[in-house]
Symmetry: C2
Subunit: 342 residues, 2 copies
């Protein structure tokens, strides 16, 4: 199965991907943090069986992995591809049901017993939610969820109570970042019950200009209302980013910067993660604006996901020092770009 | 005739080119600075006829140009290719006998009545001198030079008295420059009667690391002794530069820098003259060390000579602002490098 992130989705000039995750817990079993090893095993077996033992066709697309069987590089690489959380990668006592195209991952015994997560390229909240809902329904047939009429789905952390749903979008906002309005945008969306934060780097000025916009409210709101709210705000951000890009488009300095970034990615022998993100962000902006056609947006997505330390280490098959990693990153990026050129 | 600078000569890893010029004046005529317009015309006609009217086969390889017929861009471009001096370009009252391959230029009524200049790729003092000498002999048959038994050839500036010969080498010394020893080297060679100075930029740290090494003494020394002295010191500088390069060779940071410079030259949309020189110098070093084979040393020589303002303006055929020139330079360099790649 071709990996989900190699496809391009709606509004992909600005939206890299959509993620929806549902937090669920089993009735009458303590939350993972308080479980005994036996309870942990039992929950794990129960959930595994609920999916893989079902007669639904989709069950055949899943693999089951115990985190204790993964190498540190494998775990890191899964984390980098957003298949698991950093805590889950660290703890190594959970298990994972992973769809072969990596678009669905179900973490067992993370913070909650179940974390059903669905990813889609571009802006596709409805598509991601429907798949999550389908799996949720399937599992619900064979499991008994902890559910309260008043509170909704019960979760370990109160911020997830209610729908247990967190929907998020990965946005590429290089033009808004250049305009210096990200701090202000962050204030605005937080007043609307959303949060926006930089990925791949701290603060409001991450090197790659990639941000995550997600809903915060899960209680007292339906899934559809939460998705609708997120989507309508996302559409406004998209419109702003596009307008800012149009301001930049045709600017020779931008064209120069885009092409130089591409030139450096094609030739550098040493590339730090930070420089890589800066350069690939420029190239992505250039590709979105049609300044260069040498690289497509899905090729950029593949580069961003797979140029990270864990993915690099995994491909080389041995531990790398940071300096070796920068050489390996440069080498891998060159190889990928040489492929796309032909 | 293929231009001389498109060929590679001996020791071209370090020596870009060799230049020998002879200053000569006609007997019983004032130096150009004191000539009347009539005298100027007469001298011009006499010298032109001495070469073009001779039966020597070589005469057919020359064109005659009056500077007043050249556009400012043409004059600038000739200056950049070292065919004429800056003063000669400015004054516009002289004339030029130019060999079709541009390896020989004879300035008429520059500081002296005659400046016979020969250029050769790489280190070829003997070859350049022999050609200059051949032309000098040819002209001497039909002209009467101002010559004093004691002082030798008489010249307007006393620093040229004697042989009237200035021999110079264009050296690429990026490794010695990196070592920070150029100031010291300059002191040493000046004690040996030579001078070394940066080309394409001020001081001892010119961006392209291209230097000119030339003899200073013309009085009380034979041409052959002066050439031998210059050559033996040049050989030492070459040896030092090569040793310094071997120290650098294999250094990943150098390889990275060479390839990045190449990548930027292939993709940039804006290139200042200064940045161009920095980048092409890195590429030249890389080509000399075999780090990259995408560009040869003679292709680099062509780029260096023709990416200068006058040459760019001439090709475009209209006046360019500095900003337009930087765009044109980037565009032309990309075009050239795209050609060499295939």
């Amino acid at each position: 199965m071709r990996k989900w992130y190699l496809e391009t989705g709606p509004d992909s000039d600005v939206i890299l991907s959509t993620r929806v995750r549902l937090a669920r817990n089993l009735q009458n079993v303590p939350f993972p943090i308080r479980m005994t090893p036996e309870q942990r095993k039992a929950v794990d077996a129960q959930i595994k069986d609920a999916l893989l033992g079902s007669h639904a066709a989709i069950a055949g697309d899943f693999d089951y992995l115990e985190m204790q069987d993964t190498s540190p590089a494998q775990a890191l690489s899964m984390m980098e591809r957003h298949l698991i959380s950093p805590e889950f990668a660290q703890a190594k006592d959970g298990a994972l049901l992973l769809m072969k195209d990596e678009s669905v991952s179900i973490m067992i015994n993370e913070e909650d017993h179940l974390r059903i997560q669905v990813m889609r390229p571009g802006l596709d909240l409805q598509g991601a939610y429907e798949m999550a809902d389908q799996l949720d329904t399937l599992l619900d047939e064979r499991l008994t969820y902890a559910f309260d009429e008043r509170l909704g789905y019960l979760t370990q952390c109160p911020t997830n109570l209610g729908t247990g749903m967190r929907a998020s979008l990965m946005l590429h906002l290089p033009a808004l970042q250049r305009e210096g309005v990200m701090g202000q945008l962050s204030d605005t969306v937080s007043k609307l019950g959303l949060t926006i934060r930089g990925l791949y780097g701290e603060g409001t000025e991450p090197k790659g200009a990639i941000y995550q916009l997600s809903n915060q409210v899960t209680l007292g709101i339906s899934e559809q209302a939460a998705l609708q709210n997120l989507k309508s705000i996302a559409m406004q951000v998209i419109a702003q980013e596009r307008a800012a890009r149009q301001q930049l488009n045709g600017d020779l300095r931008l064209t120069d910067q885009v092409w130089r970034s591409y030139g450096l990615l094609c030739t550098a022998r040493i590339l730090t993660g930070e420089e890589f993100m800066q350069l690939i962000s420029n190239v992505r902006l250039g590709a979105a604006l049609g300044i260069l056609t040498e690289v497509t947006l899905d090729e950029v997505a593949n580069l961003i996901l797979n140029a990270q330390p864990g993915c690099l280490t995994l491909r080389v098959g041995k531990n790398l020092t940071p300096a070796e990693r920068d050489v390996e990153r440069a080498s891998w990026v060159r190889e990928q770009l040489a492929k796309t050129e032909t």
